[in-house]
Amino acid sequence: MGVRNLIATVSIVHDDPHVAAKEAVFELTDRLGQPPAIVVLFFSAEFPAQAIRDGLWSELDPATTVVGCSSSAELGPDGALTHSVTALGMCLPGYRAQALSVPGGRDSFAIGQQLVESVQSPKPDLLLLFPDVLTVNATRLLQGIQSRLGAKFPVLGGAAADMGTFKQVELLHGKEILRSGAVALALFGPVTLSAAACSGYSPVSVPLQATRVDNGNILIELDGKPALTTYLEQLGPRKSEMPGVTIEYPIGVVSRVSGKTEVQTELVRAVFGINEQREALILGGDIPERAELCILSATRKDVLMGTHTAIQTALTGFANAELALLFNCVSRKVILGPRYKEEYSVVDSVLPKSLPRIGFYTFGELSPVAAITQHHESTFTIALVHFGAAK
């Protein structure tokens, strides 16, 4: 008799995070028919990680591999929820998993390299990565990982989030709680993926050249003028809503295709903050200097269309998915406002009903595009996973 992969996802809503975490374990065990060997969980940033951790480990087998992080809203089998503990439990016979973490406080590239160095040999087949982008530059973290594992090594995940205050996120690695750095789950065994990313944003400004960029993500000058001034000019009357409005107007790197201006959706950068003294924009990820940039915007319809496009792209020619991982930018939730659950209706309408799914609203997404993992922002990413070799 062949051994089956057991995969289940649950979402528990409870005012007591300790109970919510315990119930998540109960439910996973019930659904899997046995205790999970691997747990990946996303919990509302309203909950303290400590209560989640304690609730979880009061029921889990000590040998369980656990990683997780706080989120702005969780995506699970019951849709998009806030105030939940949403968990993925897996028993993958023949597979090995290792939870990894590196605290922040040093160069992001080095954190990426260190994370890979802590992986037991041999080389893993998949990495689920959950960084804290408030202390780590996700672009360089990814570059550090790719410098050791190669550009085509699959990395999936999202940046841990809070409830939109951009102040503090929490990461979970086994029984350890981190408030900076990154956690990851390395999976050893054959994995086949179909990933896609789409933002749905489009330019609302003329193309502007990044004439001065500092540290990769601090945009000092646009077209030779202070970036902040130029950005505010482009915002027009909405500049009075600064800084909150920046989440609705990310920056996109544009390329010109046969004379037309086209946005490379894989390179959308959220404006995380401003430096008034330097009149600079602080972006969530790196952008190349001299690149042509546009200010982007999206309507609710554009956002939903982006989600639909990404799912359809991932599903095309991939029939044997066992799990769907969804990492969706928190800025999209802001644009959709109270109707943010509509985006999940799109997911539900396109994905097969029986396919387990999990994810969260992130501060940045990590997903391959054309087989190379990139750091995205303001983007909906989906990865369909099959635990086995490609046929």
Binding site: S11, V13, D15, E23, F26, D78, P338
Partner: protein, 244 residues
């Protein structure tokens, strides 16, 4: 006495939900299996523990679903509150904007009225070209308002300046309707009633055609070809007047 098909042992009773199962069991008061001192077979016990576990799980899931719905309801209530606040703010803004727009509109109406009065004033200039000789150069369309204003101003000026002649110069009039033609006639009659003489000059062929086709009798009025002729006539008549 035991039933032939005991619901505690019968595999078909597994399909019953807990409520139906308990109702079925409640009729088994005579069953020796349910006596407190009776040993319960392990298979029966295990089956019933499984049933209870399943029931507990179902209950847990239902409670979770209820909490999810309650939370969604709270989120919705919060959103309605936020929405109400936004609507109230918008209403306030709209009220203020409407009030400001109304004030601006009223101010514009007042300004327009002032401008219209000024235009009317300018549209009916009365020039005293000589002692006792007033000239009214008329240009453009002669509507009822303008004719009314012209009449009032002219009669006032005639009285004020003790003028003997009022020259109505129609050189700048290319079109005339029946009402204006009759009004013009009435003006001339009013001038006569004040003891002055009205002279019409500069009538274009088109205007003459209109006047004649309308049957307005201008024959009782002094008509000259040009303003120069009219002024010459006034001056001549002024010289012949004994008092000058």
């Amino acid at each position: 006495m035991r039933c032939e098909s005991c619901c505690l042992e019968d595999p078909t009773s597994d399909a019953l939900d807990l409520d139906a199962f308990c109702r079925k069991l409640s009729s088994c008061t005579e069953c020796p299996l349910l006596r407190l001192d009776a040993p319960i077979p392990a298979t029966v016990l295990i089956k019933q523990i499984e049933r209870l576990k399943e029931s507990a799980r179902h209950n847990r899931q239902q409670q979770n679903r209820i909490r999810q719905l309650e939370h969604a309801q709270r989120e919705l209530a919060l959103e309605i509150q936020r929405s109400d606040e936004r609507v109230a703010k918008l209403e306030q803004t709209q009220k203020a904007t409407a009030q400001a727009a109304d004030e601006q509109f009223q101010a514009q109406i007042a300004m327009l009225a002032r401008q219209q009065a000024a235009i009317l004033e300018l549209a009916t200039p009365i020039i005293q070209v000589w002692d006792g000789v007033l000239v009214l150069p008329l240009i453009g369309q002669l509507d009822d308002n303008r004719m009314q204003s012209l009449t009032e101003n002219l009669l006032a000026s005639l009285q004020q300046k003790q003028a003997q002649f009022a020259v109505l110069d129609l050189t700048g009039i290319s079109d005339l309707n029946e009402s204006s033609a009759r009004h013009l006639y009435r003006v001339a009659s009013a001038v006569r009633l004040l003891g002055a003489e009205a002279l019409l000059c500069g009538m274009r062929a088109q205007v003459v055609r209109i006047v004649t086709s309308l049957g307005v009798d201008l024959g009782s009025l002094s008509v000259t070809r040009t303003l120069q002729d009219a002024l010459r006539r006034c001056i001549t008549k002024t010289r012949l007047t004994p008092s000058t």
